[in-house]
């Protein structure tokens, strides 16, 4: 849930974490005892599987028998695999729609909350969708967007427009998944931005008003630049999360119709578990890993998300 907030805090954590203790002796032995369980978890379920996953991506391995080294075969095959490229394109579409839709709506919502309502109750109601599992959000909208008797298509019908096959048509499959995801995350992202808005001191706005800045100028010259660290965090969250979309696709469209919603993670799952091609699945997972690392790196560099102009 809040795992990802770390990204922002890391630089800070390093800064004040270091040299606060000045004691003569080292506590190494005691420390060993305290971190032992967490360290076992780190090695056994993060470090080891990461290395093993890398290794498997260079092998052919159908769950039975043992992995067989095939060099870069999987990667060569991958670059020639139209379904892989399709998965990449489809995932990018999904990521793009999410970024635009979710960030815009959440920013608007945060500004509204900041301006007219700061009550915890209102924030709580906006947060409710985020607390639901992806599977629940998916099923809820699978019903509401049903072609025949879903309430949304009823409304569309009343308005005199043609019904939309949200899950059944190739052009709508990905936008629909993105809308479900936006519904679930909008309130959460708005709360993150709202917290950022509250950290901007009022004196900045007062000074701007005295200098004759209109609200629009205040927004573009003060609010947006000072929100940069929060917006950088939100973009990283949205992008890394969206690249890993799986749950909603798995319970609603299962990659279809045809290949319209076969996103990367679904394709990995399909290859590794449905078709027992662990090596090939791992190779696609490596690509996904590289994409995510690049995204995080570029965003921290370009947006300088770990530095605040308020400090």
């Amino acid at each position: 849930m809040a795992t990802t907030t770390i990204v922002v805090g890391r630089a800070r954590a390093h800064r004040d974490g270091g040299a606060r203790l000045r004691r003569d002796r080292s506590d190494f032995k005691v420390a060993l005892f305290f971190i032992a369980p967490a360290f076992v978890g780190l090695i056994a379920f993060y470090v080891f599987p990461t290395l093993r996953g890398l290794y498997l991506s260079f092998t052919e391995y159908s769950i039975l028998g043992s992995p067989e080294w095939v060099g870069t075969d999987n990667y060569e095959r991958l670059f020639a695999d139209p379904l892989f490229w399709n998965a990449l394109v489809v995932t990018l579409q999904y990521v793009f729609i999410n970024i635009v839709l979710q960030t815009t709506l959440a920013l608007g919502l945060a500004l509204l909350m900041h301006r007219v309502a700061r009550s915890t109750f209102i924030r709580g109601m906006l947060l409710m969708p985020y607390l639901m599992a992806n599977v629940i959000a998916a099923l809820l909208w699978f019903w509401m967007l049903d072609y025949n008797i879903g309430i949304v298509n009823q409304i569309i019908d009343w308005l005199g427009m043609p019904r939309v096959a949200f899950f059944g048509s190739q052009e709508w499959a990905i936008p629909t998944q993105a809308v479900i995801n936006t519904w679930r995350h909008m309130g959460y992202v708005a709360l993150l931005i709202f917290a950022g808005l509250q950290s901007i001191p009022n004196t900045v706005y007062e000074a701007a008003s005295l200098d004759g800045a209109n609200p629009f100028q205040q927004f573009s010259r003060i609010t947006l630049p000072l929100l940069r660290p929060v917006l950088a965090l939100v973009l990283i969250l949205t992008m890394t999360g969206s690249f890993q979309v799986f749950d909603t696709v798995a319970v609603t469209t299962q990659g279809g119709p045809v290949n319209a919603s076969r996103v990367l993670q679904y394709y990995i799952w399909q290859k590794a578990f449905a078709e027992q091609e662990f090596g090939y699945g791992s190779a696609i997972a490596v690509i996904l890993f590289l994409i995510l690392a690049a995204v995080a790196f570029i965003q921290m560099r370009v947006l300088r998300g770990n530095e605040s102009d308020l400090a």
Partner: protein, 306 residues
């Protein structure tokens, strides 16, 4: 912003709510709230209707033909014949088992991960040893590894240990720590006053005593917040249980929901049953939210400085 304007115009305490300039923002906000909350009502309304009546009154705002058959179906209390008659699949499904499994999975992993993470956080904030910040950095770096990437090898590990479709295999990867929990507790420990601990240290108390008798009790509030957040994340987990717990005895709610959906008759899905199942799955988190809502809301936006 409104305060700024009030200062400029000189009226300090302008009533906020009834200013005509705020009609538009309030309308938009109410709209956003409606979009967030009303679907939950629609789930309830559907669950309380019968499938036949739903098709006939698809737009009625109240439940059509109020009935709790769907809930009986979800908990396996209807005979296959009854279920078929009401539009169900007739396949046996029992959400009690899934509810129990989800509860065990989320509770055990939360308790264990929060405890071990707090221990590690203590070592990263209160103890002094070489390489401390580097090891801490290594722990944090794991958030960059996408779960799918480690899930494949972890699946192989659990399978090789012969733990597929066991509760042990299900909880295993989540027992030891989460990077977020370590980060979260470490931030709190760093902000905590050290005076009592130092006094205890002078009295000869050892670290484990200080940790259990001073640090943990004083950290009850952040521990509770962390436990809530972790519990909800675990409750909603789908991918890992899908891989390692596919049979009926270890299946959790999220996976059960997917199975229930895929069993539903293709042409005329059992909407009423599906929404009843959805509601049952959502209810525990909704109840937690009703009780601890404020704590959860205030934890969003936590970035280590508050």
């Amino acid at each position: 912003m409104s305060e700024t304007r009030a200062l400029v115009t000189g009226s300090r305490r302008r009533p906020r709510r009834f200013s005509p300039r705020q009609i538009v923002p309030w309308t938009l906000l109410v709209l956003a709230i409606a979009v967030s909350v009303l679907p939950f009502y629609w789930v309830l309304r559907t669950a309380l209707s019968t499938n036949g009546a739903l098709a006939a009154n698809s737009a009625s705002l109240l439940p059509a033909d109020v009935n709790i058959g769907s809930f009986l179906r979800v908990f396996g209390l209807q005979s296959p014949a009854e279920a078929l008659a009401e539009g169900g699949s007739g396949a046996s499904i029992n959400f009690w088992i899934y509810l129990r499994n989800s509860a065990i999975f989320a509770t055990v992993t939360t308790a264990s991960a929060v405890f071990f993470s707090s221990m590690a956080a203590y070592a990263f904030s209160r103890l002094r040893w070489r390489g401390r910040d580097k090891v801490f950095g290594l722990f944090l770096a794991t958030v960059l590894v996408p779960p799918i990437f480690t899930a494949l090898p972890n699946f192989l590990l659990v399978r090789n240990l012969g733990l597929l479709n066991t509760m042990t295999g299900l909880v295993l990867p989540f027992l030891f720590m989460t990077p977020f929990a370590i980060f979260f507790m470490r931030q709190f420990f760093l902000s905590m006053s050290r005076e009592v601990e130092e006094a205890a240290m002078l009295d000869g108390a050892r670290h484990w005593r200080i940790f259990f008798q001073i640090v943990l009790p004083n950290a009850a509030a952040p521990l509770a917040t962390l436990a809530l957040l972790t519990f909800m994340t675990q409750w909603n987990e789908y991918f890992w249980p899908l891989l390692v717990a596919s049979d009926d005895s270890t299946r959790v709610l999220t996976v059960g929901l997917g199975v229930f959906k895929s069993q539903s008759p293709q042409g005329a899905p059992d909407w009423s049953g599906l929404m009843a199942a959805t509601l049952v799955s959502a209810l525990p988190v909704l109840i937690l939210f009703a009780i601890f809502g404020k704590r959860i809301v205030n934890s969003i936006g936590f970035n280590g400085t508050k």
